[in-house]
């Protein structure tokens, strides 16, 4: 880690994040108040009013938690069906210059669930599956709405905490409309243009076919007139190349496709409206790439500057929301304490991941690969080790899930960091809104634990934390953990689960564990060797992962909104000498301890048989 440049970039990143937190937080205070004022009012206000009129919304009329939840759920269901239909009917819809067919039911369900829940896990290869219409209309809209929804729910929870003896927690429609119009669209507009300047494409042309410099030949299966592969009968051989004989001493014959040479003298260059999608993909912590390689693809992340802005945009809103929290509960030091706890865990994870990738893999170093270069498998030269490790940490601290390097090829401990980040609930700044409401679950738990330790009724910002509240918190934590571990266990012992693996040994188990963690956590990154859409059409992965996403999203949000409603109705009790202070270093340590303890107790056994054991096997030089 002896790279001064890397430390400068790290310092710049941290500085920029710190600098953005307060102004963006103050802006959020205005955005999340239906009567708030922003400098965009002259332009946006009329559009906002028109929207309310068209949709029959009264922004001033607040909803109880039940109404808020119902609106959120119905809006999600409609959006999910909408995208499902678009994906299924893709071949009948416009803007499909490559003539891609409609998606299969399981894949369409998985994708619709994925984008509705802000997961953006991709069971498909973007550039070879999705038409421009599907990308824009079917997917980009969820990038906006799921992000707006997350922020709205965080705001509703904060209102629940800040208010007392109140019946309502805000208006769902007003929150999402205002977040989209005043925050997401304007920022994305500028951001996307900056990204285009760096080389991200934005057009509606069909893919470009370039005449390559140096033609080469590849081997492809020979096809007959009907398009079926031609096969020939050849003797079967064992591992050592010896011909196998049957009982009668006759050679065992096996069908093998006939291969023919094909000259390749072209390169197909992907095109499409990419920049507009990338901007919201990062800012809204969605993470679903336009193309398969996501932010590693030169058209999604062409330069180190584009990379820097993309990772900054992941944390920008989540960090600002902690300031919003402090402002709303009139205790700014509490907001900063939450920020501090997140920050400490972020730095720790980034350093561990960076160190592991920098140290590289002794198996390859023995072959004469320069040890100082670190583990470059699945990484891009323009980002190098540091920016790849930093990106991996940030994208999983948040529920973003974009990747600029292939996590599947990380060293065991380098890959453990993103996995553990997801499993602790993505509360390290976290997804837009999701990070804050997830962290507040841990805050309530931390306060509860502190209360137990000193033998007092726990209080949080002047409200008693009672059995009902703690039950809701535990419900969230247990459902999520059970879904991740249950799904992993099922897939790990099933034929369909093992059929999808790209790696054997403990790394194969890690691929499964990562998939369910990522789905439940609504992250969307992957140990991408895992094939969830197999050629034989097996639906298990796409269906179970899709359900895991829905559980991870809605069984988290509904109890959280119930908690918001319950907290809003409570009476304030005056602070006394015995009140546990939710600020300062003690609280930060307690909060970090709670997050790590819950995560470790739940997931260490599973991690031990995945990345941990793989680490020792790698050092011993074991291969699979």
């Amino acid at each position: 880690m002896n790279h001064p440049n890397a430390w400068i970039q790290f310092a710049l990143y941290v500085g920029a994040l710190l600098f953005l937190t307060k102004p963006l937080g103050l802006y959020l205070v205005q955005v999340l108040d239906p009567r708030g004022r922003t400098w965009l009012d002259p332009v946006v206000r009329p559009v906002e009013r028109l929207t309310y009129r068209l949709c029959g919304i009264d922004p001033e009329k607040e909803q109880a938690w039940t109404g808020y939840t119902l609106a959120m759920l119905l809006f999600s269901v409609v959006g999910l069906l909408f995208t499902y239909v678009i994906l299924r009917l893709q071949d009948h819809l416009p803007l499909n210059p490559q003539g891609f067919p409609g998606l299969s039911p399981a894949l369409a369900f998985n994708t619709a669930a994925s984008f509705t829940t802000n997961t953006n896990w991709q069971s498909y290869t973007g550039e070879a599956t999705m038409s421009y219409f599907s990308q824009m209309v079917g997917l980009t809209i969820h990038n906006f709405t799921s992000a707006a929804m997350g922020i709205a729910i965080a705001a509703a929870l904060v209102r629940g905490i800040a208010r007392h003896t109140a019946k309502t927690i805000g208006n769902f429609w007003a929150d999402t409309v205002r977040v989209t119009y005043y925050l997401l669209v304007p920022v994305c507009f500028v951001f996307a243009l900056v990204l285009v300047s760096q080389g991200i494409i934005q057009n509606f042309q069909p893919y470009t076919v370039a005449k390559t410099y140096e033609p080469y030949t590849i081997q492809v299966p020979k096809l007959d007139a009907k398009g079926n592969a031609v096969t020939t009968s050849v003797p079967k051989t064992d591992d050592k190349g010896q011909a196998l004989k049957d009982d009668k001493g006759q050679p065992v014959m096996v069908d093998q496709p006939v291969m023919v040479d094909q000259k390749v003298d072209t390169q197909t260059i992907v095109q499409g409206p990419v920049a507009s999608q990338i901007a919201i993909k990062m800012l809204g912590t969605n993470g679903g790439g336009y193309v398969n390689a996501n932010a590693a693809h030169p058209f999604e992340n062409p330069t180190p500057l584009a990379n820097f802005l993309q990772i900054l945009s992941i944390f920008a809103i989540p960090a600002a929301l902690t300031y919003y929290l402090g402002r709303m509960v009139k205790n700014q030091r509490h907001g900063w304490a939450v920020w501090g706890a997140m920050f400490a865990m972020f730095v720790a994870g980034a350093l561990v991941c960076w160190h592991s990738e920098d140290a590289g893999n002794p198996i390859h170093q023995k072959l004469g690969v320069a040890a100082a270069d670190g583990n470059m498998e699945g990484k891009e030269v323009r980002f190098g080790i540091f920016n790849s490790a930093l990106f991996a940490t940030i994208t999983t601290d948040a529920s973003c899930g974009a990747v600029n390097a292939m996590h599947d090829s990380f060293t065991p401990l380098g890959g453990l960091v993103p996995m553990f980040n997801i499993e602790t609930g993505e509360v390290i700044f976290g997804g837009v809104g999701a990070g804050l409401y997830g962290m507040l679950i841990f805050v309530v738990l931390a306060v509860f634990i502190a209360g137990l330790m000193v033998g007092r009724t726990p209080e949080y910002l002047g409200k008693k934390i009672e059995a009902y509240d703690v039950k809701l918190v535990m419900l969230v934590l247990m459902v999520l953990a059970a879904t991740i571990l249950g799904g992993t266990a099922w897939a790990a012992v099933s034929t369909w689960g093992q059929a999808g693996l790209n790696n054997a040994g403990p790394h194969g188990f890690s691929e499964i564990l990562y998939a369910y963690s990522s789905s439940v956590g609504n992250n969307g990154s992957a140990f991408a060797g895992l094939t969830a859409t197999p050629a034989d059409g097996d639906m298990h992965y796409n269906t179970t992962l899709g359900l895991a996403m829905l559980i991870g999203r809605f069984l988290m949000i509904v109890p959280i909104l119930a908690l918001a409603g319950n907290l809003a109705g409570k009476r304030l009790i005056p602070a006394s000498a015995g009140t546990f202070k939710t600020e300062g270093l003690t609280f930060v340590l307690l909060l970090v301890g709670t997050v790590l303890l819950v995560g470790a107790l739940t997931f260490l056994p599973a991690l031990a048989i995945g990345p941990v054991v793989e680490h020792f096997l790698m050092r011993a030089g074991t291969l699979f």
């Binding site: 209309v137 709405t145 390689a293 180190p304 470059m376 600029n404 699979f624």
Partner: protein, 195 residues
């Protein structure tokens, strides 16, 4: 309930128009006006024909060219057109990965001794399979081979490589790197006779 459902449907339609149609269209218009070259893929033309993109690696196997990083997706091109961009996704204990890491072959090609360390980027597949760059060390490692194949002195080729070393952006963002396609184009332009 009915009211919430109609509101949901109207909201979905509204966002379809605003974020699904208007936003990408307006962005496209602005992008095409302000940064047309970038917005269309940073394409490189030679004799009026598109030969590739400055942002995408393509395959070079001949000795007279610098080689890009290994690609797990045949540089985005399959027998029937596009191949999805991707890395190998092979894990650290993968036997296949160990087999792919062919440091010895690269040493032989460059006529280097058996203990010469090989730059990691030359043996490891990139994340996208389309990484347009190699490290400066990765380029220098290949100078002797390219120079010999073209009958040029290593000095001349080395100078050209130095010209194509891009420093980290703004001096500190990212890593130093060499764009392989652009280097090879310049190499052809600098060699008077086509080899």
């Amino acid at each position: 309930m009915i009211k919430l459902i109609t509101q949901s449907i109207r909201q979905t339609l509204l966002w379809t128009v605003v974020t699904g149609v208007l936003y990408p269209l307006v962005m496209t218009v602005f992008a095409q006006l302000v940064f047309p070259a970038q917005a269309n893929g940073s394409l490189i033309q030679r004799d009026g024909k598109v030969v590739g993109s400055a942002l995408m690696a393509q395959q070079f196997t001949g000795d007279k060219y610098f080689w890009p990083r290994p690609s797990a997706c045949t540089y985005g091109t399959g027998p029937t057109g596009i191949a999805g961009s991707s890395g190998s996704n092979l894990g650290p204990t993968s036997a296949q990965l160990q087999k792919n890491v062919d440091a010895a072959a690269l040493r032989t090609a460059s006529k280097l001794p058996a203990d010469a360390p090989v730059p990691a980027d030359l043996v490891f597949a990139s994340a996208s399979g389309l990484d347009p760059h190699i490290s400066p060390e990765g380029a220098r490692f290949q100078i002797s081979r390219v120079a010999a194949a073209r009958g040029l002195s290593a000095d001349v080729v080395g100078k050209l490589v130095d010209q194509f070393v891009e420093a980290p952006q703004w001096g500190f963002l990212g890593e130093p790197r060499v764009n392989v396609l652009q280097l090879n184009l310049a190499l052809d332009a600098a060699s008077p006779k086509k080899p």
